[in-house]
């Protein structure tokens, strides 16, 4: 290593004693100690002073901790709504170096699906190293570092904290770290709203807020009472239908119908007089069916006209066939290059009518066949 670099040199410490007589060094040192002792009667209130006392008479006097101080994590819940911010996403459990966090995510008792809340949240305070990683990594700003340092207890088991003991209100946290909360408040509250929407029943409400839980339960009960009345008014669509699985043909018919409906929304008022070359009988039946459908639509609840009323496979195939026929006819009629969808779109009512006509035709055929057999 070179002795002289451009940024500094090597200096050999000078051991040479100063011109002090024997014993003077001790006196010099005593002078230093005397200065400190004399200065200790005044208070040292500034970092730039080296004399003076800055004793804090703990426990009568306590120093305020800086905002960033971290010791032991706590969970936050919103004062207003009573909901806990924690969604049970396991990020803090994954990152915890000594692995002292144990989470159980909440499940909807009715459907069995996971709910963004935590039923149990355990932190072993006696092994927690207060590194702050859980607070750093939490995407929902629900676990934060507290400022408590007076945790001594003779009961080791009492240091395993459960969710009820870890819950703190957000107002508590703004009391100890206002700046840190202000940075993340907007995002955290927005995410909380999203979580609340997906939490059924009273899941996610802090357990200590018993009044809020009672109030919410009453609210839900009232809503449940009102719901059956509302349900009776709605269209008598097959209640099991939405959940039932559709066969591929039914799916195709539904898709064609949906496409027709979407095009209907955006397209110009469908010209019922679109030059679609349907066979005369089909056109007449289609017109009749269209009128009937319009009448039905006026009176009934807004149940989707394209609701997958359970079509038998044969009928569905017939409907699909009719729709394709209509589309092809439209394509041939109009020389302009029009896609099948737009062709269908230009004659939506006609397509619907065509399908209805196909259904009617099929039913009529079946009836005729039965009658024919009976005869």
């Amino acid at each position: 290593m070179t002795t002289e670099t451009q940024h500094g040199s090597v200096i050999v410490m000078d051991r040479r004693r100063g011109k002090l007589r024997a014993g003077q060094g001790l006196l010099q040192g005593l002078r230093v100690v005397w200065d400190h002792w004399a200065g200790s009667f005044r208070k040292n209130d500034n970092f730039s002073k080296i004399h003076g006392t800055f004793t804090v008479e703990y426990p009568e006097e306590r120093l305020p901790m800086p905002q960033a101080y971290r010791n032991m994590p706590v969970l936050l819940f919103d004062d207003e709504s009573g909901h806990e911010l924690c969604t049970g996403c396991y990020q803090c459990q994954r990152i915890c170096p000594p692995q002292v966090i144990h989470i159980t995510q909440a499940k909807d008792p009715v459907t069995g699906k996971m709910v963004p809340a935590a039923t149990e949240f355990i932190i072993e305070y006696d092994a927690c190293m207060s590194c702050g990683f859980c607070a750093e990594v939490c995407p929902f700003d629900s676990i934060k570092m507290d400022h408590v340092y007076e945790l001594s207890t003779a009961n080791r088991a009492a240091l395993t904290m459960r969710k009820a003991q870890l819950n703190r209100s957000i107002s508590y946290y703004t009391g100890i770290a206002p700046g840190l909360w202000a940075e993340v408040q907007a995002g955290a509250m927005k995410k909380l709203q999203g979580s609340i929407k997906r939490r059924p029943d009273v899941i996610g409400l802090a357990a200590s807020l018993t009044e809020k839980i009672k109030a919410r339960r009453l609210e839900l009960a009232a809503a449940a009472a009102a719901a059956p009345a509302a349900a009776a008014v709605s269209a008598p669509a097959a209640p099991a239908a939405p959940a039932a699985k559709l066969t591929p043909e039914e799916k195709a018919a539904k898709l064609a119908a949906m496409k027709a409906a979407n095009a209907n929304k955006g397209a110009a008022p469908a010209p019922a007089e679109a030059p679609v070359a349907l066979s005369p009988a089909d056109a007449k039946a289609a017109k009749l069916a269209a009128i009937k459908a319009a009448n039905a639509n006026k009176g009934a609840a807004p149940a989707p006209a394209e609701a997958p009323v359970a079509l038998s496979p044969a009928d569905a195939k017939a409907a699909k066939l009719a729709a394709i026929k209509a589309a092809n006819a439209a394509k041939q009629a109009e020389a302009a290059p029009v896609s099948v969808e737009t062709a269908v779109a230009t004659a939506p009512l006609d397509a619907k009518a065509a399908r209805l006509a196909a259904i009617k035709a099929a039913n009529a055929a079946k009836l005729a066949a039965e009658q024919g057999n009976n005869e």
Binding site: M1, F47, P66, A68, I95, C96
Partner: protein, 369 residues
């Protein structure tokens, strides 16, 4: 002539002067030490195997606990090692903040180490109390920026965890006003003190060639006259832009090491002043925004080292491509600096042996890991 026998006595592991749980098997002939064997492992926590089970980020708080006196320096070495392995760049402002923290650590380590050495000499806690007062100021600064006084956990891969707070700079500037007064006062108390000179001049001499052969580093090596400082020998971070001198001793005894440590505090203050002046112009933020903390380094190995206040702290990492280290080795300065303890103490008195151990400045968290 009376028939005498050599006596083997056990100093430690529970002993107020052994700087932690440290045991020395001393063979004495009367009051003179003829042989000394250091025995440690009482604080062995298997840190290296814990690190193989944790991911790279989860290891960061554990590095705090190695040399628990200087948490920031340990974090720095580990962060540098992982950044070198993965190839993460550190923005300029983050480098300046890092150097600031590490140099503050150097001041507080030397303030404490000299205090403990004077305590070992029998002067009780006079200098230690003065040194602790300055340490408290610096620890308050650490607390306001990282959240904890000792176990800072402040460095991340690609920078530091949080930027400096608004009240950090004014307090730091106040502290730097007090610093020359503190160091000068310490010199006045110690440098010409007859008792200290008697207890430390010519005690525990480690000659230059032996110092290098024993692989010692830090103030012990520089006290023996070898001008090897990693910040100059293999500059890392932004040390190649900063002006500072490297103090060395001439004889290699305890007195030289005291003088070297006092001068290093002055140089650290000089570095901090330069950092404060250059910090406003530094580019970038407090962390590289593209750096992922859950790193998955490519297969390979790396060795990164820093000049901590006690010597060379190095991390040797071997990665197998997963998110956990395959091998994680800590090259601890205090551990290796203990190698010449036996040779340094031979021929001196038992009381000198305590002083020599104090002058090496060990911390058992590092020695035992």
């Amino acid at each position: 002539m009376l028939k005498t026998e050599e006596l083997q006595i056990n100093i430690g592991p529970q002993h107020p002067s052994t700087h932690g749980v440290f045991r020395m098997l001393v063979t004495v002939d009367g009051e003179t030490v003829t042989d000394l064997k250091p025995v440690f492992g009482y604080l062995h926590r298997n840190h290296e195997q814990i690190a193989e089970v944790n991911t790279y980020l989860q290891n960061m708080p554990y590095t705090d606990r190695l040399d628990y006196f200087n948490a920031m320096a340990n974090n720095h070495a580990y962060a540098m090692a992982v950044e070198k392995l993965v190839g993460i760049e550190v923005p300029e402002r983050a480098e300046y903040i890092r150097v600031l923290m590490v140099e503050l650590t150097r001041i507080l380590n030397h303030a404490g180490a000299l205090g403990f050495l004077i305590n070992d000499m029998g002067a009780w806690q006079t200098q230690l109390a003065f040194g602790m007062r300055e340490r408290e100021k610096i620890l308050d600064l650490f607390e306001s920026v990282s959240g904890a006084r000792l176990m800072c956990n402040y460095f991340r891969f690609g920078g530091v965890a949080r930027d400096l707070t608004a009240d950090f700079m004014p307090r730091l500037k106040d502290l730097l006003v007090a610093m020359p007064a503190f160091i000068d006062e310490m010199e006045r108390l110690l440098r010409e003190n007859e008792i200290l000179l008697q207890r430390s001049e010519g005690i525990g001499i480690l000659p230059k060639d032996l110092a290098l052969a024993y692989s010692v580093t830090g103030p012990v090596l520089r006290g023996s006259g070898v001008a090897y400082d990693i910040r100059r020998a293999e500059p890392y971070s932004i040390y190649d832009r900063l002006d500072f001198d490297v103090p060395v001793g001439s004889v290699g005894d305890v007195y030289d090491r005291i003088l070297v440590r006092i001068e290093e505090m002055r140089q650290s203050k000089r570095i901090i002043e330069q950092v404060i002046a250059q910090l406003p112009d530094a580019q970038g933020g407090h962390i590289n925004p593209k750096a992922r903390q859950n790193v998955r380094p490519p297969v390979g190995d790396v060795y990164a080292r820093v000049e901590t206040p006690k010597g060379e702290l190095g991390f040797y990492l071997v990665s197998d491509g997963s998110s956990r280290p395959y091998r994680y080795k800590v090259r601890a300065p205090s551990f290796i600096n203990l190698t010449p303890l036996g040779d340094m103490c031979r021929g001196y008195k038992v009381a000198d042996m305590v002083v020599i151990l104090g002058s090496i400045d060990i911390v058992m968290g590092e020695v035992d890991r």
